[in-house]
Symmetry: C2
Subunit: 198 residues, 2 copies
Amino acid sequence: MLSDRSARLGEGVGDLSRNVRSRTRREILDAASGLFAVAGFKGTSLQDIAAEVGCSKATLLYHFDGKDAILVEMLAPAVGAFGVLDRQLAGLADDTVQLAAVKGYVDLVLSFRREVTVLHGDIPGLLRHPALADVQGMVDRLLDALASRSPDPSAQVTALMVLGAIPIVCMKPVAMNDDELRDVLVRSAAGALNARGA
Amino acid sequence: MLSDRSARLGEGVGDLSRNVRSRTRREILDAASGLFAVAGFKGTSLQDIAAEVGCSKATLLYHFDGKDAILVEMLAPAVGAFGVLDRQLAGLADDTVQLAAVKGYVDLVLSFRREVTVLHGDIPGLLRHPALADVQGMVDRLLDALASRSPDPSAQVTALMVLGAIPIVCMKPVAMNDDELRDVLVRSAAGALNARGA
DNA sequence: GTCTATAGAGGGATAGAC
DNA sequence: GTCTATCCCTCTATAGAC
């Protein structure tokens, strides 16, 4: 169902008027993600979202099973893509997994900037959420991959640094297009990882 | 008054029984910082803090002018130390400021782990707080220093990465003492910064 | 200085008309 | 499918007894 949903992201011009349901849902998700990104999940009320969309709180709760459901569905495509990366990395050997992890993680973050901003803004609360339980495991495996699956503490610390270094570029605007940005991120992350032994 | 307070941090055995006021205040600050760190500022209620301390909500509000005041006073020593670093870096030349910024920032984060965790856990909400208004400016100047005061976008992105890379080590426990940790952090951060041109 | 009790605001969620 | 009105809860903060 996750892949189902992400597949619908690039939906074309065809059946716009068929079901209004999807359209309103998407407006709600758009408004919510924007507000969550600047004020945090707990810092945003249903009233805030309703005001942004231009509807009532009751309408939000007709389309979603609660505030949490809005968050979960908003993050679903990003979580799905993270899962894909997780499975890709699982199939790689220890000596090739690190660079693939860096590139895959950078791509993931750049593809889901808003979602990453939301997650990054309320780490203590959100990663504890039941619906995001698998994310914690994926983060742990990503860290392991970034450390070339080495048990060396210094490798693990550096992996942690890379994990924290990438998402922060979502917060501040930067005068670069995405291709240049991807390049700088991958190069600098690799530089941090290599500097460990030097 | 900030330096006044930080100076009192290492207070000895002398006048413990003199004013109970300070003792209770510190218990409150301790409990609050621990809870803020794991559940976030908005995710922690006065009731939570009162339960941890073993007193009533009213007692908290007798000692502090409100929930915000607890946060601000809890962060005061860290903010003060950040200000010291800020002024030190201001006096350095462009070609020496980067390494000093890295070392100073790493030391700062390692010295105030809990405070950094609190700030890091609720970035959207907390940096907007009026009492923490100067922090935003200090962060901007630190970023500038980490970029060797270069206007190059790639230097600024890398500085941003370093800014995000250090605090995350506060969140996960790591099998290293602080001296080793400081060394890895500085070395890897320098590696990221140098990799930019390579 | 600490407590109980309570005010007052705002949150999420539901009921029922349209 | 959307609305208004309302319920119930939790939160911050205050009042006043001890």
